[in-house]
Symmetry: C2
Subunit: 302 residues, 2 copies
Amino acid sequence: MNVEWIAVDWGTSNLRVWVMNAQGDVIDHLTSDQGMGILTRDGFEPALLSLIDGYLSTDRITPVICCGMVGARQGWVEAPYSAVPCSPAGYDQAVLVGPTDPRISVYILPGLSQQSPADVMRGEETQIAGYLAQSPNFDGVICLPGTHTKWAHISAAEVVSFKTYMTGEMFSLLCSASVLRHSVGGDDWDDDAFLAALDQIYSRPQSLAGDLFSLRANDLLSSVNAGQSRAALSGMLIGMELAAARPYWLGQAVVLIGAPNMVDLYRKALAHLGAMVLPDTANDVTLHGLQAAYAIYKDAQT
Amino acid sequence: MNVEWIAVDWGTSNLRVWVMNAQGDVIDHLTSDQGMGILTRDGFEPALLSLIDGYLSTDRITPVICCGMVGARQGWVEAPYSAVPCSPAGYDQAVLVGPTDPRISVYILPGLSQQSPADVMRGEETQIAGYLAQSPNFDGVICLPGTHTKWAHISAAEVVSFKTYMTGEMFSLLCSASVLRHSVGGDDWDDDAFLAALDQIYSRPQSLAGDLFSLRANDLLSSVNAGQSRAALSGMLIGMELAAARPYWLGQAVVLIGAPNMVDLYRKALAHLGAMVLPDTANDVTLHGLQAAYAIYKDAQT
């Protein structure tokens, strides 16, 4: 089968594996729900082997390059952070996990840290590295919407500074566990409500906790469509983030990387505020980032 | 035993009952965890009777006056809202629950509503009525900190306008269910961190979602004391509320009503911002409010 190495994206909720050949092609792509969040320290190796065991050989040691929350304090082995400004492709600071099954040697890539204002990322740096592998001359801002949205300022192939917003996590908590859950259920959506709420909080961010309750009160008094309320909730939270992140996007070329529905939402919001969002060209950035790390690994072996 | 009537404060989490005699004294005070949140519609009467059955007589019908979430859409019977401006002591719009056990007649007091900006309250209006029963000439602002903090502007014994902030609910969700739960546990507290975070968000409310994540990042990079982080989280959320509620407290006499630890926290925060908080004189406001409603009920019977 000619397996050369194995690329692993191991987040809080999911484990994703690509089995790679020497030509840089993907032989197989495997996933499981054995994310960092549900594993104890001695559960990582079995979870990995259960996916890749059939691709391992006793004739040689297969390198496994991992990124993401697998390197967190609650992960397999705590990998250090590289302090910005630095390159996001950090194989040279990777941690060798050991001892493991003799057929593999497992490396965990570092996250990035910033001292002031204090910030950290694990996993997104590899996506950024993957984007830069495809667009090596990019100078500007990369925004990665998600549970913890990251904004990173890129210059000369380095992450210069970055900032995390808990926007996605607040949205999912408010949707599922707060009193608003009675008013925002279902799959409907309303772009006008999204943009109106965005404007409202963008200009008066301090109103958030009050405007959130108004969603519930409006529904109790006037039976508002749930999709309208959910879009407004999303618009408020993203509006607050974009007000704070203004120094990142104002007058900058912004690239969005993430799940298509989130990228779409941020694209609408940023366009509404007059930001310059570049066309969507980022593909398979995590795998490209792991490939960039593997290239550095290989150079270091020779 | 000379039971004249029964006062009931029935919230989302708790059921509290006072058994009253004709002289206005409390014969007994009983509580249970049978709050509205865990009851189905036909569970309310048994939950009430299990507390008061021993105090009922077959010789006369005992009036039971209830306030709180028992009158919500998910409650025993939906009680209407009285639209502000209006008196908070709303027996004249109470709903008679029927049919019930022949020994009782149960009334549920209305909540208050406001059309624009849309807002509602259930339960706090009775606390306000109880405060006004003790301070009938009060003109100013009453703030009731809690899961959903209410600010109410009082003039000429009426609630003129009010505003709800989801501050308390956001605090408890972020503490218990977000990534911050790893950094804010335990019972420690730090007043300086509370006030510093209050100032920070008061002047830059849009930074909330970013500053929240900094609590986690700071802890990961520099091992911050959990009490300091929890106090900062609280300071951020209360700081955002006080920035939005400024038109309520600025230049107004503010009365705080609520759980002692919450009142204490808001007192510190408001004093820090130079607001004029009146000394704490509010006692047993819910019972006083129910007594005010019962007095109107009795007048209506004669």
